[in-house]
């Protein structure tokens, strides 16, 4: 469903041009759970922006669900983001003045057809991430982990084919991070494609496949033999706390 070929991206700042992506190639099939790894400066954020249709490559090809993305205009990219991709950001990016429910409903405003059951849908996805009792809370009344779960609910409400997560556990404590990862594992079990960008090996090991970037190219692309089980880790965490 995602096919990236010889992807290049060069940023020009004044007379200085910096090539961040130097010909990355890989493909991701529907239903995969992939972590894209790399230390900072390896171009993983740039790659994530291009996959998320937030930015365009300066060279190479990107095909999403059979659509040649580089040929699309700005409106078509917006449409694609709304339809095909659910974003989860490191800083959550929730609207501070809106309730959890309103935040989750936000993407529907930009849908071609506003669903009649918009509120029902939003409530349903909020329940599915365990926040049925927090719908009327504003972000500042929620913990970091809860905020990130609101963000996941928001990513799910348009029923996209891909969840694209950028360091989703980066701002969270270990338990909240594991909560997020167990939601991802469950979603993947329901057939959803998950692409997670991270610099953290431990987090990446939860995925089924790790694409390692180095210096703007794919350094390695491997299957994870025995992906970590967030549920087990959560239990271990609990026992550890109980022991103390």
């Amino acid at each position: 469903m995602i096919e990236v070929k010889d992807l290049e991206k060069t940023f020009a700042k004044g007379s200085i041009a910096t090539q961040v992506l130097k010909g990355a190639s890989f493909s991701i099939d529907e239903g995969e759970y992939v972590a894209i790894m790399g230390t900072s400066g390896t171009g993983k954020s740039t790659l994530m922006n291009i996959i998320g249709c937030l930015d365009r490559p300066t060279g190479g090809h990107y095909t999403l669900n059979g659509t040649e993305v580089e040929s699309l205009d700005d409106d078509a990219l917006s449409h694609l983001r709304n339809h095909e991709i659910g974003f989860v950001f490191q800083q959550f990016h929730l609207l501070a003045r809106a309730s959890a429910l309103k935040n989750v409903m936000l993407p529907l405003i930009y849908a071609d057809e506003y669903p009649e059951d918009a509120e029902e849908r939003a409530k349903q996805v909020l329940s599915s991430v365990g926040l049925s009792d927090r719908m009327d809370h504003r972000p500042n009344e929620l913990s970091g982990g809860q905020q990130q779960r609101v963000a996941i609910a928001r990513a799910l409400v348009t029923n996209p084919s891909i969840i694209l997560a950028d360091e989703p556990t980066g701002n969270l404590d270990r338990k909240s991070g594991l909560d997020v990862l167990s939601i991802f594992r469950r979603l993947n079990g329901e057939g959803r494609t998950i692409i997670m960008v991270t610099h953290d090996e431990m987090t990446a090991e939860h995925a089924d496949r790790i694409i390692q970037l180095k210096d703007g190219r794919v350094a390695s692309d491997r299957k994870v033999q025995d992906p970590k089980d967030p549920q087990k880790e959560l239990e271990a965490l609990k026992t550890g706390e109980d022991d103390r």
């Binding site: 937030l54 700005d74 983001r81 609207l95 993407p107 930009y110 849908a111 506003y114 348009t158």
Partner: protein
């Protein structure tokens, strides 16, 4: 509808920072309020002007004895205006329908039985009623026979009639002007206040001949009332009369005139005068505050775009197109100015009523300023909202999210 959902998003952000919203509205409020007051005052003034011109007579020119500019009642003691002057005007000037002379004496003491009054005595021709377009409410006018026989007959104004006779009809009764007895033949209809502010109904009319010879013993007149055929000729006929009088009275400007000529046009201009300057001032204030308010609005919106870069980036990531963002911010700007307009209209309405009550300026509240307010506020909202909305729309999602 997608558009209505986006407009709603724009309007909702107004409640986010109420103080800021108020500052953004302030200019529109002041501008629209000023506009409303101006138009209410303008309408009131125009009605007032028409009232004054009507009480003066819309086709009238007054030639009065005594110099001075602007409209003032004739000065007593000026002896240079004569009936011969009237004849000269009659024979030399075209386009005059009527010429009616008169002599006046202020503060004449008048008695009827035990009742006493001070009023202005007018000695007039029988064509007075046509020249002044002034009717009687009861009795008979002074006629040609009264003139030729120097009859001691008179007409009363309503104020004088009330002072002397209360509510009873004075026709057929006698009054005494100074030491002379006069028969009351009729009562004039009420005319109200003169353009210079006097009570036009506190008067007594006697035949010109009787007045000049028997009552006052004078050979001069106080004024000539001119009624022109065509309203357009008011000013040129006034100028012609001035020329004739200069010649006959041997006056060469800059030597001061011993007479004054006032036309209905002059009355209208004088009545508009003060409020005209005030209107220009208020219009300037309205325009200025709308422009300044618009600039403030634009700047605060630009600041708010900068503050909300992340929000814009997020919305773009979630599928908002450039035009969605543009529309959201433009809707915000328009909502602010329209809200400002509503408050402005309310403030203006209240201010107009206060002006009417305390400044005694005539004020008429009508629908026009409110229609104009809608147009102006939409224009300001559009004009000053476009730039911030465009800046918001042009943000690149990747950069905005960082």
């Amino acid at each position: 509808m997608r558009a209505s959902r986006i407009v709603k998003e724009g309007i909702q952000s107004l409640g986010a920072n109420k103080l800021r919203t108020f500052f953004m509205m302030a200019g529109t409020i002041v501008g629209i309020a000023a506009l409303t007051v101006i138009m209410a005052m303008g309408k009131g003034t125009e009605q007032n002007v028409m009232k004054k011109v009507n009480s003066f007579g819309i086709k009238a020119i007054m030639v009065t004895a005594g110099g001075g500019k602007g409209f003032s009642p004739p000065q007593e003691g000026i002896t240079t205006l004569k009936l011969e002057d009237l004849e000269a005007i009659r024979s030399q000037v075209q386009g005059i329908e009527l010429l009616s002379p008169g002599v006046m004496k202020r503060g004449s003491s008048i008695k009827a039985g035990n009742a006493q009054a001070q009023a202005t005595a007018f000695a007039v021709e029988s064509d007075f009623y046509d020249a002044w377009e002034w009717q009687l409410t009861s009795g008979e006018p002074i006629n040609a026979e009264d003139m030729s026989t120097m009859a001691r007959t008179c007409n009363l104004g309503t104020t004088l009639s009330r002072t002397l006779f209360g509510s009873t009809d004075p026709v057929g009764e006698y009054i005494q002007i100074g030491a002379t007895r006069f028969l009351v033949k009729g009562v004039l209809e009420s005319r109200g206040t003169s353009p210079s502010g006097g009570d036009m109904d506190n008067r007594v009319l006697v035949p010109l001949t009787t007045g000049m010879r028997r009552l006052l013993n004078v050979d001069y007149i106080s004024f000539i009332r001119v009624k022109v055929k065509d309203i357009k000729d008011l000013v040129p006929i006034g100028d012609e009369i001035r020329k004739i009088l200069h010649e006959r009275h041997h006056i060469t400007p800059p030597q001061e005139d011993d007479f004054a000529i006032v036309t209905a046009t002059d009355i209208a201009e004088a009545a508009r005068g003060i409020s005209g300057t005030l209107s220009i001032l208020l219009i300037a204030l309205a325009g200025l505050s709308l422009i300044v308010g618009g600039i403030v609005l634009m700047n605060i919106l630009l600041i708010s775009v900068n503050e909300r870069v992340k929000e814009i980036g997020l919305r773009r990531a979630l599928g908002a197109t450039q035009s969605d963002i543009f529309m959201q911010f433009l809707a915000e700007s328009l909502a602010i100015t329209l809200l400002g307009m509503l408050f402005g209209c309310l403030v203006g309405w209240g201010a107009s009523l206060l002006v009417g009550m305390y400044a005694k300026a005539p004020v008429i509240i009508s629908w026009e300023p409110f229609a104009l307010a809608v147009v102006f506020s939409l224009t300001v909202g559009l004009f000053f909202g476009i730039q911030p909305a465009r800046r918001a729309a042009r943000l690149k999602p990747v950069e905005a999210l960082q």
